[in-house]
């Protein structure tokens, strides 16, 4: 009995973790970073950031978001680092020291493989966090019904000390990326926010995205904005009110880079601060 419940807990843990990193997952768990503020003045500043995987925005109640892979890009293009990272039971946290004026990018890109196969009639899954290079060893001889899905998932946000800059928006050309038309640290509730999405550096047409206002716990209905990108990959978002929004875009295609993978899942998540006019 004891054994069984432990296994059950482990399975639940796995499900949550996968949901967090898999775009297109049916589960609604949302991975989010919540910066304390994104628009700062002065010569030098600190922000603090929470991270979690949960249904509600921005209430941690399930699982902390890992901070190991978090990268920082400074306005001059050099790499910065997060400080005081810690992970609790249901929330992680770190600080960021802004010692350079301009726009900073903070976040992670996860690439992984999700796969399953049958062996002797039994359904098996690739272990969590499997790497592309391991695939051949991970799928045993005699396996049938092999399905391999490649995933590329970004979760990042932007913070500006002083005047906004553009350096950190240079696309890498890999996966789903956001390029601002409206600077993410220049959003006000009475003006539309316009963003362009790219897949592998090219305009991502027909991408559906959702922006959800935090604080839904105190509203009867969540405040959401939905949009679909046009031929140029652009979306326009009219903000219902000021606040911190969680924005997610996800899609899939067949442009896999992993041998044997039949599908590629692409995800993009950011947190946007929309100010009162």
């Amino acid at each position: 009995m004891k054994m069984r419940s432990r296994l059950g807990a482990r399975a639940a843990f796995l499900a949550i973790s996968l949901a967090a990193v898999l775009p297109g997952s049916a589960q609604a768990h949302r991975a989010w970073f919540l910066p304390s503020e994104t628009i700062l003045s002065g010569e030098d500043a600190w922000i603090t950031v929470d991270g979690a995987v949960s249904n509600d925005l921005f209430y941690p109640n399930h699982f902390p978001l890992g901070t190991d892979g978090v990268k920082v890009e400074k306005p001059d293009g050099s790499a910065g680092s997060i400080e005081n990272a810690a992970s609790g039971k249901i929330r992680s946290t770190f600080d960021l020291h802004l010692d350079q004026p301009g726009t900073w990018k903070i976040g992670n890109m996860r690439s992984g493989v999700f796969g399953r196969y049958k062996l002797n009639g039994e359904q098996k899954r690739l272990p969590r966090g499997a790497q592309a290079s391991e695939i051949e060893n991970l799928i045993p001889a005699g396996a049938t019904d092999v399905e391999v899905r490649e995933n590329l998932m970004r979760n990042e946000f932007f913070v500006t000390l002083g005047a906004p800059t553009d350096t950190v928006f240079t696309p890498s050309g890999k996966g789903l990326e956001l390029v601002p038309v409206t600077h993410p640290n220049d959003l006000v509730a009475n003006e539309e926010g316009v963003f362009r999405f790219l897949i592998d550096g090219k305009p991502a047409a027909g991408i559906e995205l959702t922006a959800i206002l935090g604080g839904g716990r105190y509203a009867n209905q969540p405040v959401e904005v939905k949009a679909t990108s046009d031929a140029k990959g652009e979306v326009r978002l009219a903000w219902p009110q000021p606040g911190m929004y969680w924005l997610e875009a996800e899609t899939k295609d067949k442009n896999t880079s992993i041998p044997g993978a039949t599908e590629r899942g692409l995800g993009y998540v950011t947190t946007l601060e929309v100010m009162a006019p």
Partner: protein
């Protein structure tokens, strides 16, 4: 991305307008508030012309805090910060915060140099630590032949605001 600066309008003005010798006198009342923790408000005063062009006229903030610490809160004047503050050099136009009551502010002709004649919004924004924020706008006209006064009033963080423009 919108980029503005203190002297953003200078170039356009040399073509568009005659030399202007207007001065602006502002009477700004800062309300006395009966609250447990009172801090004098940060105040920004600016002119907004056509096309969103902005010139900062005055910024009151906690100037004397050690190590420029007061600048940390300049972004609390959110509208000004976005439209002008973050890219402006405020050294020439800044002053210390002011106490509740009537306050007078004189904008010399030099501060308006290069602005084309025409209609503007004169905007006053106040933001108070552990308090609120308020923006008051007055329509004003620069480059006229006679003196004029515009008035408006805030409801919370600002009292009456009057701007007298003298040619």
């Amino acid at each position: 991305m919108r980029k503005t600066s203190l002297f953003a309008l200078t170039g356009a003005a040399t073509i568009a307008s005659p030399a202007m010798a207007d001065t602006i006198t502002l009477d700004i009342t800062i309300p006395r508030l009966s609250v447990a923790e009172y801090h004098r408000p940060y105040v920004a005063v600016w002119l907004e012309g056509d096309g969103g062009k902005v010139r900062t006229l005055s910024v009151w903030y906690d100037k004397d805090k050690r190590g420029g610490e007061g600048k940390k809160w300049l972004n609390e004047m959110r509208t000004w910060w976005r439209k002008a503050g973050r890219s402006a050099s405020i050294d020439g136009v800044s002053g210390a915060t002011r106490a509740p009551g009537p306050q007078k502010l004189s904008i010399p002709a030099a501060a308006l140099r290069g602005l084309p004649a025409g209609n503007y919004q004169l905007v006053v924004e106040a933001a108070r630590e552990v308090g609120g924020r308020e923006v008051v706008k007055l329509p004003v006209s620069l480059g006229g032949k006679s003196a004029s006064t515009a008035r408006a009033s805030g409801k919370t963080e600002l009292g009456s605001v009057a701007a007298t423009i003298k040619p």
